[in-house]
Symmetry: C2
Subunit: 380 residues, 2 copies
């Protein structure tokens, strides 16, 4: 087991009716920025619940955060925060809104000239941030209980992340009922996103961390078990609750304590989203099996353990096949061709971007431009 | 799944050499109370490491915290804290020292007349506490990452707990190397303690919480796997590290989120320690199989799930038998008779105490005086 530091100060308020807790959790004596996305919260009753809980608070609203939140949009919110002297941001929505809130919270008090620095340094220059609370309406990213944020820049087709201990939400409300009205595609995406988050911290090489391995397998097994139920019966509270809690545990940084991590799938996936506009989860389902094939020898021992414990299959190739089959069963394609994307072109574009940034990811730090290209060529 | 709130603000600093982190984690401009137990930290090098890390800090020392920390001893430390104007307590030792530190931290700033109130109200009256940091040298209680504390009172043979969000340590250093010199009996006790903590949050009835179930099973399986290794090879870092992290996860309150909990074994066990001086873990190994037998019908579904997933056995009785066999294999007796204690006498004493306090524990709230007596009569 590797040495590690672990701290997760976010308070989780989980369950039906918990939005009412906002009344006491959001600071009362300061104007609050209510941040949201495309307005679905106004159709599904979440907005009304939030408004009712905050009826004694001063609120300023900012809607229109995109599915892949744009730096350009966030800057407008930062201007509003400064102008209205906001001291607390309440993000209501999915991971995109939460990620945007974290960036806005850091950018609003950033001392430098250009807040893109926050992303360019992956959070290294963050020394302060406004407090953020969240009401999560889409289980997927784990953003409700970590210090990560991913922001895209329209002008340059870049998608970068930052991480900071200051970006953990103060609290996050997780009410499974708020997710009942989600389009099926969002649920499918969230299931894959949580599944791949877990894999990034698990599918590496044996590292004498049997508890962490089993915790990860617990999340994977639960997602596999609840996926068909929660897709077929969106109003089944229990399945939705287990999906929601699994997605949080997949990336609240606990299962990654003391173990090697990969994240090559995510980094290649971010470029595919930036170039082709694919949903984040769609890119993950394409790339991950490719990373596993490309690093087959290095990952073989863990693939075998995963296959045996999670799928009851004996060998590593079967474990990969079962994973793709699971994605297909929940309606998630796993090939670039499924989206009409030319693999050679994608490989060339992503490789160029990896080379520009000098990227080298993966648990062995060897997923560089050439490796990324080789991985994508396989995924035609 | 039940609604829940979860917050665990403790920073974990895990691994070899992490005691050095105290230099930056302990506040520099205030005298620190260094609290410890019987002095083993002076023999195993931990004291020297702590002293080296705190060489620029003002330290006041208080040693002699007992294995079941006494209220009477804690009061002496509280007097010292007040007299020396201590603003931070660093607990170095096992769960007893940590529990004592939490009580001292709350009692030192308690506004009432008699700080026994803190225990009598199980923490209900705690509104402030000094910050506590810990260096854990005995994996067992989970006290390093929760807000619980158990204190005994010599004068009245009482053993009571308190819980408070204010009692979570600010940080806890977990260096597996500090545990290499532990007597075998302490390791055995710690294994059983962590195992039973997990069971108190798991062995109840099915509650549509498949992730929580699997997380608990992960801790149980890891403990079962590492127990023989860490007992036979105390200097095997990897086994000790997994034992240590398992004991923390067993009671950092995560696995209990949203599920029914039992705790009858602990409450009966506390009385056995109070009356007969048995080690805490010794009492748990005696009582738990009795609770399971007594509530067999109510716990049968979970016993079967546990038997199948953890031991690969088909029925609930076999699951109980395998658990006792596991305890025996690591040198832990499971009967009152093994300590020369008369079961009838023990049953009568514990029942009287339960009746006095009006106790009723267990996930169905039905482990009252009569049930406690029936459970102990079985454990002759």
């Amino acid at each position: 087991m590797q040495n590690f530091s672990y701290k997760n100060p976010t308070e989780i308020l989980f369950g039906k009716g918990m939005i009412a807790e906002l009344a006491t959790r959001v600071p009362a004596k300061t104007p609050v920025l209510l941040l949201y996305g495309g307005g679905s919260i106004k159709r599904n009753g979440v907005y009304d619940q939030v408004k009712a809980a905050l009826k004694k608070h001063r609120r300023v609203e900012f809607g229109g955060i995109e599915a892949n939140p744009l730096f350009e949009t966030c800057l407008k919110a930062v201007a509003l925060v400064k102008q209205a002297k906001i001291k607390f941001i309440l993000a209501v929505g999915g991971g995109s809104v939460l990620d945007a809130a974290k960036f806005i919270a850091a950018a609003a008090v950033f001392k430098g000239r250009d807040s893109w620095e926050i992303l360019r340094t992956h959070g290294g220059c963050v020394t302060a941030a406004l407090p953020v609370g969240t009401v999560l309406t889409l289980p997927a990213t784990g953003s409700e209980a970590n210090g990560n944020s991913v922001i895209s820049r329209a002008a340059t087709q870049e998608k970068l992340h930052f991480t900071s201990a200051l970006a953990f939400p103060v609290f996050s409300v997780l009410d499974p009922v708020t997710t009942f009205s989600l389009p099926k595609k969002f649920v499918r995406n969230g299931l894959v996103d949580a599944f791949v988050h877990t894999m990034e911290q698990y599918m590496t090489f044996p590292s004498a961390a049997p508890l962490q391995d089993r915790l990860s397998e617990s999340v994977l097994q639960t997602l596999i078990e609840v996926a068909p139920v929660t897709l077929a019966k969106p109003r089944n509270y229990e399945a939705r609750a287990s999906f929601m809690w699994s997605a949080t545990l997949a990336l609240n940084t606990l299962i990654g304590c003391g173990v090697p991590q990969d994240w090559a799938t995510h980094m290649i996936g971010h470029e595919l989203t930036a170039f082709y506009g694919l949903d984040h989860a769609e890119t993950l389902a394409i790339v991950m099996p490719g990373v596993w094939q490309h690093k087959f020898a290095a990952k073989r021992a863990k693939l075998e353990q995963y296959g045996q414990r999670v799928w009851g299959v004996k060998n590593a190739r079967a474990a990969i096949a079962r994973t793709e089959k699971f994605f297909h069963a929940i309606g998630m394609p796993t090939r670039l061709g499924d989206y009409g994307i030319d693999a050679k072109e994608a490989a060339a574009k992503v490789a160029t971007r990896f080379a520009e940034h000098g990227y080298a990811f993966g648990e062995h730090g060897d997923i560089n431009a050439a490796a990324a290209a080789a991985i994508l060529l396989q995924r035609a």
